[in-house]
């Protein structure tokens, strides 16, 4: 990210759009030609014209006079607006990357521009829905398809639905219309659902676990009239298995991605690796992070115990310690810290027993400027990424451990004092 600083000084004339560090190049990147003109509106309603130089589903590259950092709204239509935040460290002069914080549509809020992944998946799902709804009475087909697609759209795992069964319900009896005939369904539950759907004349959906706990079904009841209706049943056991697998793969992908985008500085580590990091070297100082006063106290204790070979890094270490403690106080209610020395390395460890950073929030929480789930500036991690030589993060439902390493040699940094 600091490359943009360097570039602004060395090559002020080269355009950001052509730079591979600007907006990640890939199939989702678009460069509108000519640039699309939009308006950025700040919290006070002040408007700044901006040109979209490049975009992908999660960020814009804009040329604008609007101050960065800052949060803005882009109104595209009456029912479609996008919240963005300028990223000071990406871009130069009047060109900056703006992260898409949220996209508001009439139908709801999303984190990205367009779910292209869903578009890809919709092909096969649309077919499945058409197949299982073709046996329904004609006047209901469209309605059922629409409802089903809407329901399916909510699931990101639709590709895992392989087994479906369509039954007609009439006066307490079921008749199989299509789908996998040998699929055993918990019929008692199915009848209860259909009774409710027909009685209230509305679509019902329920997730039912079989009596032996081995299978999980997703039931949709669609009423035709007061005594008959259609039941669509999906075996989603595999979906749930797949969800777990995807979670593991996601973590693996995050590990690699985080390490790559931070130039190898930020590492997601497992408990075993964390234990190793915690045991290396000799303890220099430690303390708590239970209240605001513990933050200046920790800096004081750290300064007193820091060997003189690290004195030129004192500000960086103290700042990162304070940022990490502040995170613990804001998000986990409290924790503890320690400083260790291993040769020419100072290691700061800050731990809490909070509920961890959710996988879905992880990248944003650590990498995105000004992203904060709490009311703060959200740049603590940006500062830590800048000042620490290496960061190791272990997070889970039983707590978070952050390890920050500082060498006694100041790593290659830009001279910010122009």
């Amino acid at each position: 990210m600091r490359r943009c600083y360097e570039c602004a000084q060395k090559e002020p004339a080269s355009p950001c759009v052509e730079c591979k560090d600007f907006i990640q190049q890939g199939p989702l990147r678009r460069v509108p030609s000519p640039p699309t003109r939009i308006l950025l509106e700040d919290e006070q309603g002040k408007k700044y014209p901006a040109d979209i130089l490049a975009l992908n589903t999660t960020e814009f590259g804009l040329e604008t006079e609007a101050p960065v950092p800052g949060r803005y709204v882009i109104r595209l239509q009456e029912n479609l607006w996008i919240e963005v935040a300028g990223v000071p460290l990406k871009g130069k002069n009047n060109v900056h990357v703006f992260d898409i914080l949220s996209v508001h549509r009439k139908q709801g809020t999303a984190r990205r521009l367009n779910n292209e992944v869903y578009q890809l998946l919709a092909g096969s799902t649309g077919q499945l829905v058409a197949e299982i709804s073709q046996h329904l009475p004609e006047h209901l087909q469209d309605l059922v398809r629409e409802k089903l697609l809407a329901e399916l759209e909510k699931s990101e795992l639709i590709s895992a639905i392989r087994v479906g069964k369509v039954l007609k319900y009439e006066g307490g009896r079921f008749r199989c219309l299509s789908g996998q005939a040998d699929m055993d369904l918990p019929m008692e539950e199915a009848e209860k659902l259909m009774r409710q759907a027909t009685r209230h004349a509305e679509h019902r959906r329920e997730v039912i676990i079989s009596a032996d706990g081995q299978k999980v079904f997703d039931f949709h009841g669609v009423p035709f009239d007061h005594r008959s209706g259609g039941l669509l049943a999906f075996d989603i056991t595999e979906v749930i298995e797949k969800e777990k697998k995807i979670h593991r793969q996601e973590m693996e992908a995050y590990r690699e991605a985080m390490s790559a985008v931070t130039g190898g500085r930020l590492h997601l580590v497992n408990s075993e690796e964390t234990e190793k990091l915690l045991s290396e070297g000799v303890e220099m100082a430690k303390g708590e992070a239970m209240q605001a006063h513990d933050i200046p106290k920790a800096r004081q204790v750290l300064r007193e115990s820091l060997p003189s070979i690290f004195s030129h890094r004192q500000h960086a270490i103290a700042l990162c310690l304070s940022e990490a403690q502040a995170n613990v106080l804001k998000h986990a209610g409290g924790g503890c810290w320690q400083a260790r020395q291993a040769g020419n390395l100072v290691r700061i460890i800050v731990q809490d027993r909070g509920s961890g950073i959710k996988t879905s929030e992880l990248a944003r929480a650590t990498l995105m400027q000004h992203y904060s789930t709490k009311n703060s500036m959200g740049c603590g991690f940006t500062l830590m990424l800048y000042y620490a030589d290496s960061l190791y993060l272990n997070t889970g439902p039983s707590g978070t451990t952050l390890v920050l390493d500082f060498g006694n040699v100041r790593t290659d940094r830009l001279d910010l004092e122009k």
């Binding site: 960065v68 300028g86 000071p88 605001a292 933050i295 502040a326 400027q369 740049c379 603590g380 940006t382």
Partner: protein
């Protein structure tokens, strides 16, 4: 620790800070400068050796509050370490554009 000295001249409230700006001390400062009054608020940071992101957020809030009331905030003489942190999060640019940051060097 944060020591706050306030000096009021016609139209200008001068606040000289000595110490550190963080989660613990920012509330003190916000209390002192929170009340409406003069047109210009000057914050002299030459005695401030440390500001973290919570402190920066506090300065940004003070700037926004003061501006909403039609006044202006001037941040004077930040030390090099503090100026660097302000620059890293882009606060210097924001404050400069709003006319709030002057005199980087002592």
């Amino acid at each position: 620790m944060l020591k706050i000295e306030v000096d009021v001249d016609p139209g200008v409230r001068r606040v000289v800070l000595n110490g550190e700006l963080d989660m613990e001390t920012i509330a003190l400062l916000q209390e002192v400068v929170g009340k409406e009054g003069e047109h210009t608020l000057e914050l002299d940071l030459s005695g401030v050796s440390f500001v973290d992101s919570t402190g920066l957020k506090g300065l940004l809030d003070i700037n926004n509050n003061w501006q909403q009331k039609g006044g202006q905030l001037l941040i004077l003489h930040p030390q090099p370490d503090v100026a660097e942190v302000m620059q890293l999060v882009g606060l210097d640019k924001l404050l400069t554009q709003n006319g709030a940051l002057t005199g980087k060097k002592r």
